[in-house]
């Protein structure tokens, strides 16, 4: 029983309760509570990440509270190599997103309440070792997402975007839920505990024909949540309309829930089906990498460019999973973490620029490096990280993914390399060229850089972490690989009986 994860997940929840109790005109207090809760949560998560012992069997920092005994539902939190980095990344993004919320001036109490609930849900989803709570926390995070986009969102397409994202994500979650319930019933393990189910399935494999209809439910249910092509159009639109913090949290962290579900549940429990579906995934991921990359080239709005590029990056993660090898899947997890930081950073930049210039149209910007040396530098670094510059964690993950995928998918990998190196560079460099380089129009004389250490902190934290993980990838890979190995081994194990 360890209090670590309970406090990481519980602090934002406690913050939410505290915010609820503070009168709404105490705006400073409300913000201070939110900042303090997410900051402490981040510090504890850092400690957890530091203390984590790579290669140790099973889960660490486990805490559990029994809930519904008859159904085997327990609130069980814990981390292994697969999610320890994700939880840590999640807390960093959560703190950064809270820090970037200073732009919200309207109905702050409601906003911070929802933000903290969303953060609780996100961290809970990644820390849960129980399928029920795994799904419950995800829903807990999703509902505030919709409300925040609807109420504090921006742009002409706000209502349409809100509707779109709600529709898609609800549908995705629903399909995944059907798959999960089917899985619960089919395994007969009488437990929601992921470790217990995994052990049970190892001994009693699920028949292949059952796998063959449950796996696609999970794959496409989770896939929709991750904007797998062609179910991706909600993402750029939704993020484009969302308030900065919401976009940072969803694109950065919550979106990885689907990928995490595929890796934690779908692939190890249904290896035969996974193997037969990997070819489909490999081709669909090209839709993300190449097609959405091309769409990103055409965008004039920075928020839509970031949204589409974030969809494109998801393709590389799917490609790593499709390789079903330790190298590729470890690479995929590295990208999940790296992209979380990158997406948060990108949307924070977009938020700052929008706050300063009241526009997201890149054609109207230009030469902003002169007015904003700090943000300008961050933009260059972020865009470079986004097109796979070594030194940032994204490169490590992408390299591993591409190296591993080539063995089974020659042509797909070749096109993915083109997408990652060339198409990615085209739109990222165009963004730099249009926003910070070139002559500066007169009317941006009053646009300001991030002022003071507090406003710079979220950028430094996100970018710094990306850089540290990029230069010392062992910090991640040494933890991840030991947890990926059993998953990959299960996925590549001997065939299950065709019938029960």
């Amino acid at each position: 029983m360890s209090p670590i994860l309970t406090s990481i997940v519980g602090l934002p929840l406690a913050g939410a309760v505290a915010v609820a109790l503070v009168p709404r005109n105490y705006r400073f207090v409300i913000r201070a509570i939110a900042q303090a809760a997410t900051f402490l949560s981040m510090l504890i998560a850092f400690w957890m990440f530091w203390q984590f012992i790579p290669g140790k069997d099973g889960f660490q920092f486990v805490s559990s509270f029994e809930w519904v005994k008859s159904l085997g539902i327990t609130l069980k939190l814990g981390v292994d190599g697969l999610n320890v980095g994700l939880v840590f990344m999640g807390t960093i993004v959560a703190f950064a997103a809270t820090s970037m919320s200073y732009m919200i001036k309207d109905r702050e109490k409601d906003y911070y309440l929802l933000l903290l609930v969303m953060i609780t849900g996100i961290l809970g989803a990644f820390a849960s070792l129980d399928i029920f709570f795994f799904f419950f926390f995800h829903e807990l995070a999703l509902i505030p997402t919709f409300i925040m986009i609807g109420v504090w969102g921006k742009g002409d397409d706000k209502n349409y975007a809100t509707f779109n994202i709600t529709l898609y994500l609800t549908l995705g979650a629903l399909i995944a839920l059907v798959g999960l319930i089917a899985l619960y019933v089919q395994t007969g393990a009488k437990s929601f505990d992921i470790a217990a189910i995994t052990a049970y399935v190892k001994a009693n494999p699920i028949p292949v024909n059952t796998q063959n209809w449950i796996f696609p439910l999970l794959l496409f249910g989770f896939g929709i949540l991750v904007s797998l092509w062609p179910f991706h159009t909600w993402a750029p639109l939704g993020y484009g309309a969302a308030p900065t913090a919401t976009a940072m949290l969803h694109a950065g962290v919550l979106k990885k829930f689907g990928l995490y579900g595929i890796l934690r549940i779908a692939v190890p429990l249904m290896p035969e089906a996974a193997r037969s579906w990997m070819h489909v995934i490999a081709f669909l991921c090209l839709g993300n990498i190449v097609y959405c990359g091309l769409v990103a080239i055409r965008q004039r709005q920075l928020n839509l460019l970031i949204g589409n590029s974030s969809v494109a990056h998801m393709g590389l993660i799917f490609l790593g999973i499709a390789s079903l090898s330790v190298v590729g899947v470890t690479g995929a997890v590295v990208i999940m973490i790296a992209h979380g930081l990158l997406a948060a950073l990108s949307f924070a930049i977009n938020g700052h620029l929008y706050h300063q210039t009241q526009t997201e149209n890149m054609d109207q910007m230009g030469g902003l490096m002169k007015r904003m040396p700090f943000i300008g530098t961050v933009i260059v670094a972020t865009m470079m990280a986004g097109c796979g510059l070594p030194g940032f964690a994204n490169f490590v993950g992408e390299a591993m993914t591409l190296f591993a995928a080539f063995k089974n998918f020659h042509l797909v990998t070749a096109l993915a390399v083109w997408g990652a190196l060339v198409i990615g560079a085209v739109y990222m460099l165009r963004a730099i060229r249009n926003i910070v380089h070139g002559p500066m129009p007169e009317h941006w004389q009053r646009a300001n850089d991030a002022q003071g250490p507090l406003r710079k902190l979220p950028f430094i934290l996100l970018g710094g972490t990306l850089l540290v993980f990029g230069c010392f990838p062992g910090l991640l890979t040494e933890k991840i690989k030991f947890s990926v190995e059993p998953i990959v081994n299960m996925a590549n194990s001997t065939p299950a009986p065709a019938h029960k």
Binding site: P230, L402, F403, V422
Partner: protein
């Protein structure tokens, strides 16, 4: 201090300088410049501690694990052998001279610190390429070099042309990098390692290890060099890169970075030892080896660039095309298996081309940032030191004995004569004629004749901090040839310590045909140029050969052609994808289905209201549905 520490210091001192400047001394330019210069000088001095490396016994290597997952084991390593030691000397030696020169050249720029931080970052990245012991590490630094080049070309980012040039350079390089990365992925998939030594051993043990992919891998790896060393058809970025400050053009876009492609090919030359074979769908290429393609691309680049250089009027662009042409020579030599000749020319070229660029910088400085040679004239008396050093550089580039360029160019001509006497050898000789022609033209117009503008009239010599490096590089250019540089690079031939006089005449006894054609080509080129440009007021060539001249002036319309090509292919695809996304997927499917749901929602609103409720309802409906299925099927 252990030798390993020293080796790591060579690599990391410039990074430390770059980091310190970026984080702490931005506001103190003089501190920044000292840090940057000290770092590169220290690396230069430390390199001498490894002088023993040019014997096989003195080879030094060290490595630290970087990533280790499954069979994906990547090191950050250091290999100092003959090849990398020479390259270390060139990078840190020429680098030091250019760092010092920049102190004078960039003095008035407000972003002085940023300039030196980028320069140090470049030095670090370049040293990383030189020292790398595996493919992926080389790729890491390869990309970082690309970044520093991007930052320095776009140093004056407020100028649209500079910002565009930086972007173009990075993107063109990325096309080459695509092949480079894909090639090393294929190597790893076949061999299971990216370590140079291990791959070399695997190929030695089994020449068929790459199967039918061998030639494709060879070509893909070469694509990296094609981008970095600006070989046809990816050559278009280098002339535009002249938008960067002149010391940057000298260091990065003449002496070192653009030579990295040639260095890389020499470093991984062992992959071309695998049995050549093409996959079935590329059957038309059967019988052509990757090396042949490399040689021809090098040759074509050399010729094409030399032709374009003949009709350029911007002093830096002439030198840029000249660099392209000389890089083409080196690549051609690699393709003809003459890696020693290529490395020899790489070394001497680094000296005299850096010298020429710094000389051009001094001229531009004297002319108050005017770069058109037709506004200059009679500068030899105004800027004597620049003139004499520039003349030395020109003679070396033209291949006049006994300057360094003569020996190295002769080595390449000899290789061409040996392996392709009736195709690439005559082509190389024609390039030599053109080289002398455009350089003589440049000299005559810039330094002789009449003053063509006020700026030329008021020109004055540059300060000592700038002319010092010029003299240093000029000395290297004079003596580099018979310092036995060729023998240091030349790993195969046992060197018998002969007198330096016999050394100086070696080309004539060793390959007389090559040496004599080289000298004849030089004299012929100079003769033509004198005839046309001695005391010329205008360029007579456009009137004499109208179409050819226009083609040369417009760089044979490559940029226009590529623009059309990109717009027609990738641009059109992007447009299509965007339309499909906007109107088909989002428009029809989503709006269609949302219309459907909206009707449902309206119906539901009779009972409940708002999205959240709809959502909950759907959730409940889903659960009910599953339970129904589960119970009905009785599972």
């Amino acid at each position: 201090m252990g030798k390993e520490t020293l080796a790591w210091l060579i690599l990391f001192l410039p990074l430390a300088a770059a980091g310190t400047i970026a984080l702490f001394t931005r506001k103190h330019p003089t501190v920044s410049v000292r840090l940057s210069i000290c770092a590169v000088l220290a690396s230069f001095v430390l390199t001498w501690a490894f002088a023993g490396a040019w014997n096989e016994a003195g080879r030094f290597s060290a490595a630290a694990e970087w990533i280790s997952v499954g069979n994906f084991n990547i090191e950050m390593g250091i290999t100092i052998d003959r090849l990398s030691w020479i390259m270390l000397l060139i990078v840190t030696g020429v680098g030091s001279a250019i760092h010092i020169y920049s102190y004078g050249y960039m003095k008035e720029d407000p972003a002085f610190s940023r300039f030196f931080a980028s320069l140090s970052l470049f030095t670090f990245s370049m040293l990383g390429i030189v020292l790398a012991n595996n493919f992926l590490q080389m790729f890491v630094f390869w990309e970082l070099v690309g970044l520093s080049s991007y930052l320095l070309i776009g140093f004056w980012y407020g100028k649209a042309s500079a910002a565009d040039a930086a972007k173009k350079a990075f993107l063109t390089n990325r096309i080459g990098d695509f092949g480079f990365l894909l090639g090393m992925i294929a190597i790893w998939t076949a061999v299971g390692t990216v370590n140079f030594e291990e791959v070399r051993n695997a190929i030695t043990a089994n020449k068929g290890i790459f199967g039918t992919a061998a030639s494709a891998i060879g070509f893909l790896i070469f694509m990296g060099a094609m981008g970095k060393s600006a070989q046809f058809p990816l050559h278009v970025w280098l002339p535009d890169a002249m938008e960067g400050p002149t010391p940057v053009s000298a260091l990065i876009h003449a002496a070192t970075m653009v030579a990295a492609g040639v260095y890389m090919l020499c470093r991984v030359f062992f992959i071309y030892g695998a049995n050549p074979a093409w996959p079935e769908w590329l059957g038309v290429l059967d019988g052509i080896s990757a090396l042949q393609i490399i040689a021809w691309i090098g040759g074509i680049t050399a010729l094409l660039a030399a032709l374009i250089a003949v009709q350029q009027n911007d002093i830096k662009r002439i030198l840029a095309y000249s660099t392209l042409s000389q890089l083409g020579y080196m690549v051609m030599a690699v393709g003809l298996t003459g890696t020693d000749a290529a490395m020899y020319h790489l070394g001497t070229h680094a000296f005299f081309k850096a010298l020429l660029f710094l000389g051009a910088g001094s001229v531009i400085h004297a002319m108050h940032h005017e770069q058109d040679i037709w506004t200059m004239g009679a500068l030899k008396d105004k800027t004597p030191l620049t003139f004499w050093t520039f003349l030395i550089g020109t003679l070396a580039l033209a291949g006049a004995p006994p300057f360094a360029g003569f020996y190295s160019k002769d080595a390449i001509l000899a290789v061409a004569f040996e392996h392709a006497p009736f195709s690439l050898f005559p082509l190389a000789v024609i390039v030599a004629v053109l080289t002398t022609f455009y350089m003589t033209r440049l000299m005559l117009i810039t330094f002789f004749g009449k003053e063509r503008s006020d700026a030329a009239h008021h020109a004055h010599e540059s300060p000592g901090v700038m002319t010092g490096p010029l003299v240093f590089l000029a000395i290297l250019t004079v003596i580099g040839g018979f310092l036995g540089l060729g023998n240091i690079v030349n790993a195969e031939t046992e060197h018998h310590a002969g007198s330096w006089i016999s050394e100086a005449f070696a080309p004539f006894s060793h390959a007389p045909m090559a040496a004599l054609s080289g000298i004849a080509a030089m004299l012929f080129g100079a003769f033509l140029a004198f005839g046309l440009y001695w005391n010329a007021e205008r360029d007579p060539l456009p009137e004499m050969a109208r179409t050819l001249s226009r083609g040369m002036r417009n760089r044979f319309y490559f940029d226009e052609f590529y623009e059309t090509l990109i717009a027609g292919s990738q641009g059109a695809l992007a447009k299509l994808a965007d339309m499909v996304d906007r109107y088909l997927i989002a428009g029809l499917l989503v709006r269609g289905s949302s219309g459907f749901v909206e009707i449902g929602g309206r119906a539901l609103r009779l009972v409940q209201s708002g999205n959240l409720q709809t959502y909950t309802f759907m959730l409940a409906l889903g659960v009910a549905l599953v339970l129904l299925i589960v119970f009905r099927t009785g599972l």
